[in-house]
């Protein structure tokens, strides 16, 4: 039987213990940033960094995200060498952009705010792009845009579905119009993906704003958001300042977007691999992709004939 029909999520303790999450010594408790309740750290990691009390989905690094989403050991990273060239020699208040980038790189352990590559989700091959929020708020600049487009172009070449997982403050100020144009560039690439009948599944996580929400992240065949994630175009503080309107409770949450018809579903983090795998199974008819258990059996009659 294909892995897909397994009822339980494939997460196992060993993966969690080898994940690159925060290193917490045995016996330490972590405080949920939402309900302030204490959770045993190993359980917190094992439960996808979701609070068992209030269901708050804590932010993930790109590495944690990929560890949770992809089959263990299946990730192959691409284009890790691509970094920004600081086209404007930008500096604000004496803070040089190139120094900010170096600090962000040290802090996050990533050379840029987007990690791309290919991997498997419950057996299904896909191209993935995940943002790294600890790198300048996962803002989109030239290097982000270039890595994203290369990944989409590679998906077309390999005939694989494309999965993006985003949280971001938006376009990166320090590269000004270069960043703005990455919105056009990433979206144009997805237009080509669509012409080749390959699906884009976009996963919106907390927080997702500005130029990322207003470009590739909402140009998707399926849009999934994590519970409670804050998603929008303008930030709530900006809206309050400019319009002097009191914002309703729950404004810009994933559930708010679902109610207003902007996303397909809200999906708990622990259910994401299974949900995406099910979708990829359905799209296999269109992509005729590889590594589609069941489908490949039916069409080739090879392997696994019992």
């Amino acid at each position: 039987m294909p892995d897909f029909f397994r009822r339980k999520p494939t997460f196992n303790r060993e993966d969690a213990e080898h994940s690159d999450g925060p290193v917490v010594p045995d016996g330490l408790w972590v405080k949920c940033t939402s309900c302030k309740d204490l959770v045993y750290s190993k359980d917190f990691e094992r439960w996808y960094r979701v609070c068992p009390k209030c269901d708050h989905h804590a932010r993930l690094t790109a590495t944690q995200r990929l560890n949770y989403l992809l089959d263990s050991g299946s990730f192959e990273e691409w284009d890790r060498g691509i970094v920004t060239a600081d086209p404007l020699h930008f500096s604000a208040n004496g803070d040089a952009y190139h120094e900010k980038v170096q600090q962000a790189s040290q802090k996050s352990g990533q050379p840029e705010s987007l990690v791309t590559g290919r991997g498997r989700i419950q057996g299904y091959d896909a191209v993935v792009a995940a943002t790294e929020f600890a790198f300048l708020g996962a803002s989109m600049g030239s290097a982000f845009g270039e890595k994203f487009v290369r990944a989409v172009e590679k998906a077309v070449e390999l005939r694989l579905p494309f999965i993006s997982i985003s949280n971001s403050g938006g376009a990166r100020m320090h590269e000004s119009t270069f960043s703005l144009m990455q919105m056009a560039k990433t979206t144009a690439a997805l237009s080509r993906l669509g012409e080749h009948k390959l699906p884009h599944v976009s996963i919106l996580t907390d927080p997702c704003y500005g130029g990322v929400t207003a470009s590739y992240a909402t140009v998707a065949d399926i849009i999934i958001a994590e519970p409670g994630a804050m998603i929008g175009f303008a930030g709530p503080r900006v809206i309050e300042q400019i319009t002097r309107q009191k914002l309703p409770a729950g404004f810009q949450t994933a559930e708010f977007l679902l109610k207003h018809g902007m996303i397909d579903m809200v999906c708990r983090r622990s259910d994401l691999p299974e949900t995406i795998a099910l979708l990829l199974l359905h799209y296999a008819d269109a992509t005729m992709g590889r590594h589609t258990p069941g489908y490949a059996h039916a069409s080739t009659g090879k392997e696994g004939d019992a």
Binding site: L88, A143, A171, E175, S176, L180, A188, S191, S215, T243
Partner: protein
């Protein structure tokens, strides 16, 4: 106007209420213009005008952000800040133009997309994103002109065109200098410095090869409006003629490929791995000493 005016001065010029706005260009350059209203979904957004008319003997469709010239007009036009209804009206116009094979001309002049409660409820981000997607593969010649303020995604949503032109005193950036100053300087009054740092002038963007041509303003457009508009008309005509001959000689698919490559190639990045391997950049090779040696 000298081309060395500091960036902040350009921002002030670009925002002058007396500067000609989209309808002034349309009235002078497009004959028999018929304005078309509404997004067929929810409402008619007055901060975007769209319609059909004749430009130098050919039918075209036109879209523009529309600011007011005084406070009352600005309140009516929401200061040229469209909501999703405005972008969906534009989207309807894109497809309308494509259906009949009419070239599309866009006038860009907005502080940014509307940041309001109802805009968020109706999907501001999605509306902008869908326009970017549509423009990238629209099977007609498209020309965009930044005539005043090119503010962020709200400007981009009608400016992903085959040719992007800019008036000499227009500006185009990822965020307004005030917003950039508030975020990176933690002080909105640092806007003049932010304007400089954002490299938002036509001259900057021409040097970065993000825009295709600067339309000179020997006198600022708010003082010599007719001259600026006529000059703009001539420049649009030249580019449109070039694009039309590309389509007639090499086909629309070739134009779409050129458009894709135009935006595909915008960006300033280095591939450290390649640089180290080829030894192109001694600095980078030094940084990665272990791998280079």
């Amino acid at each position: 106007m000298t081309s060395t005016a500091p960036a902040w001065e350009r921002v002030q010029l670009a925002r002058k209420p007396e500067r000609p706005h989209s309808l002034a260009y349309i009235n002078m350059l497009i004959s028999g213009f018929v304005e078309l209203h509404g997004d067929r979904r929810f409402s008619d957004d007055p901060s975007i005008v769209s319609g059909i008319g004749s430009f130098n003997g050919r039918t075209v469709m036109v879209i523009g952000h529309q600011k007011g010239t005084n406070t009352k007009e600005n309140l009516d036009r929401n200061f040229g800040m469209p909501g999703p209804d405005g972008y969906r009206k534009a989207l309807r116009t894109f497809h309308h133009a494509e259906k009949f094979g009419f070239p599309l001309i866009c006038f860009i002049d907005t502080p940014g997309a509307d940041p309001g409660l109802s805009s968020e409820e109706r999907g501001q981000a999605t509306a902008i994103a869908e326009n970017l997607l549509a423009l990238s593969s629209l099977k007609i010649p498209t020309v965009g002109v930044v005539i005043g303020e090119g503010g962020s995604g709200g400007a981009l949503a009608i400016s992903v065109t085959d040719r992007l032109l800019m008036l000499e005193n227009a500006v185009y950036a990822v965020a307004s200098p005030e917003a950039c100053a508030a975020i990176l300087w933690k002080d909105a009054s640092a806007a003049p410095e932010a304007a400089e740092a954002l490299k938002l002038t036509a001259q900057n963007l021409y040097e970065f090869e993000i825009i295709d041509e600067i339309i000179p303003e020997p006198e600022p457009a708010h003082e010599a409006s007719d001259e600026a508009i006529l000059r703009t008309g001539k420049t649009i005509e030249r580019h449109l003629t070039e694009i039309e001959s590309i389509v007639s000689d090499q086909g629309i698919e070739h134009l779409l490929e050129l458009r894709y490559q135009k935006y595909r190639n915008i960006g300033a990045w280095v591939d450290q791995q390649e640089a180290v391997i080829s030894g192109d950049s001694p600095d980078l090779a030094r940084q990665n000493g272990q791998t280079a040696n």
